[in-house]
Amino acid sequence: MRFPSVVAAELMKLRRSKVTWMTFAAYAFMAAMAGFFMWMMKNPGMARNLGLIGQKANFAFGGGATDWPALLTFIVEMGGIGGLIMCSIVVAYIFGREYTEGMAKNMLALPIRRSSFVLGKIIVSAAWFALLTLWIIGETWIVGSLLGLTGLTTGLFLAAAAKLLLLALMSFCCAVLVAWVAVETRGYFAPLGFSIFTLVLANVFGHTGWGPWVPWTIVGLYSGAAGPGITLGWGSFAVIAMTFLIGTALTIRHEVYADNVQ
């Protein structure tokens, strides 16, 4: 059984990749921007002087309070849509790189079950995205503390962190379909195009009654980006779970049965 070797190999590939560090930098930027907007809101004089940026900051936080609940709500909403995009990038990279770098033919001729490669990559993608989520949670705490925001309670922070982690899990379940597109099309670009398409789809269905049944819309609804007060039933979570299972099955099916003619 060489499954631990498969996972170790994937981790080694990631450690040396620039993309890994770029995703962490992107999430750092996201938290920093949230902090910047909040700082602007706390300093309305400067917001007025900066014009457009001040208005944007106002828009981002709904022109409301500048406290911990506002910052955490904003980060959770960003974690929904931003998480979907980021998770798609992570999965597209991990699965697409073998084809883009011409290594799929070497990998698939190894004396290791091909499903092990798929599962190994899924585990490593999940671990990567989980670390990114923990990273933004930590950053949010630092940003909020630096700004001296009021209204922080342990319960509030933990609830927001738990919601972000659950959103990350939901985003990841949806992103496994991106893995399938990556192996089918043998590269990065089509899966990234697919993830943009799913965001459009999420937005379109978000305005209809079908939203709670469309995987990508469900993530947005749960994050609160579509507005407060939307509750999701178990059916929506079942859709997310089914998306993960279908994505995994399609990816394994391709890697095991499709001809590799790269």
Binding site: M12, S17, P111
Partner: protein, 303 residues
């Protein structure tokens, strides 16, 4: 002893395109087998089928005594391979690339240093693969193929990207692996010179079909096409060749030239007979069919 590679009726079609048609391969253990064909002849598709990367449309494959379908993973663990082009994880160093392969193949840690030394990659061990020259990338690919000390090496165009010194070096390495360690080597190439220098046997593939599988020494010994001579008296020379030497396939190929196409004809007796009869022999040219001519004839490159 069983064959290292045995394929029967191997075919692969992509829709209406027949990439490989009814190929029967027999590669003996310990030999270097040159799989020769033009670009697009079906070499890489055949190699992909041997490695389980592509499913045959028809036919069966047995490698090192086991059917590829029955126990694919056990068979693959005994094979080193290089498919089509040199590739490596560009962000990883040479050593890291080899380390990944070693782990996945279940080879001991010392194997990495051994192949680094074998392929003379010591200078580049800490260099990222993306910054290697094409030739060194090819060396890295070969090193990866050798990391688990395979019994069978399947190499697709192993000389690609190597400089002349590198080609000679890799050729010597492959010869040594076959002669000393008994490794069977199946190598595809479109470079006649490469196959000519290395292969014990040659399989020539054209338009997806294996048109010939021949022992290279046999080809060298029996491959002569004709002897051409230039003399002052063509009529007398023809008479001597037919009547005294009993040669049948003698034809005029010019005013003063004769072509002897009998495979049994030898240059020395012809020269002796003609000179002895007073014929002035201006030129005697044994036109040998080398691998190049043989290949061109079989693949339709020469009328």
């Amino acid at each position: 002893m069983t064959s290292a590679i045995s394929a029967q009726g191997l075919s692969k079609s992509y829709g209406p395109v027949k990439a490989v048609v009814d190929v029967d391969l027999d590669v003996r253990r310990g030999e270097i087998y040159g799989f020769l064909g033009r670009n697009g002849a079906g070499k890489t598709t055949t190699i992909r089928m041997l490695l389980g990367l592509v499913r045959p449309s028809a036919g069966s494959i047995s490698i090192l005594g086991s059917s590829l379908g029955d126990d694919c993973k056990a068979v693959l663990s005994r094979i080193g391979y290089l498919v089509e082009s040199a590739a490596a994880y560009p962000n990883l160093t040479v050593r890291e690339n080899l380390h990944i392969q070693r782990r996945l193949m279940g080879a001991p840690p010392a194997a990495v240093d051994e192949v680094i030394e074998l392929l003379k990659l010591g200078e580049y061990v800490n260099r990222r693969a993306g910054r290697l020259s094409l030739g060194n990338k090819q060396r890295l690919s070969l090193a990866r193929a050798l990391v688990q000390s395979p019994e069978l090496l399947i190499l697709d165009e192993p000389a690609n990207g190597l400089d002349p010194a590198g080609i000679v070096e890799i050729r010597a390495l492959l010869r040594r692996l076959a002669d000393v360690q008994g490794v069977t080597i199946f190598m595809s190439s479109h470079l006649l010179d490469e196959v000519e220098h290395l292969a014990d046997r040659v399989g020539i593939v054209n338009a997806g079909r294996l048109v010939e599988q021949v022992d290279y020494n046999e080809l060298r010994d029996n491959g002569r096409l004709a002897i051409e001579i230039e003399v002052d008296d063509v009529a007398l020379a023809e008479r001597i060749l037919r009547n005294e030497l009993g040669l049948v396939e003698v034809s005029r190929s010019g005013d003063a030239c004769l072509r002897i196409s009998d495979r049994t004809a030898k240059p020395a007796p012809i020269a002796r007979a003609l000179v002895g009869a007073g014929v002035a022999l201006e030129r005697l040219d044994p036109m040998e069919e080398d691998l190049e001519r043989h290949f061109m004839r079989l693949t339709g490159g020469e009328s």
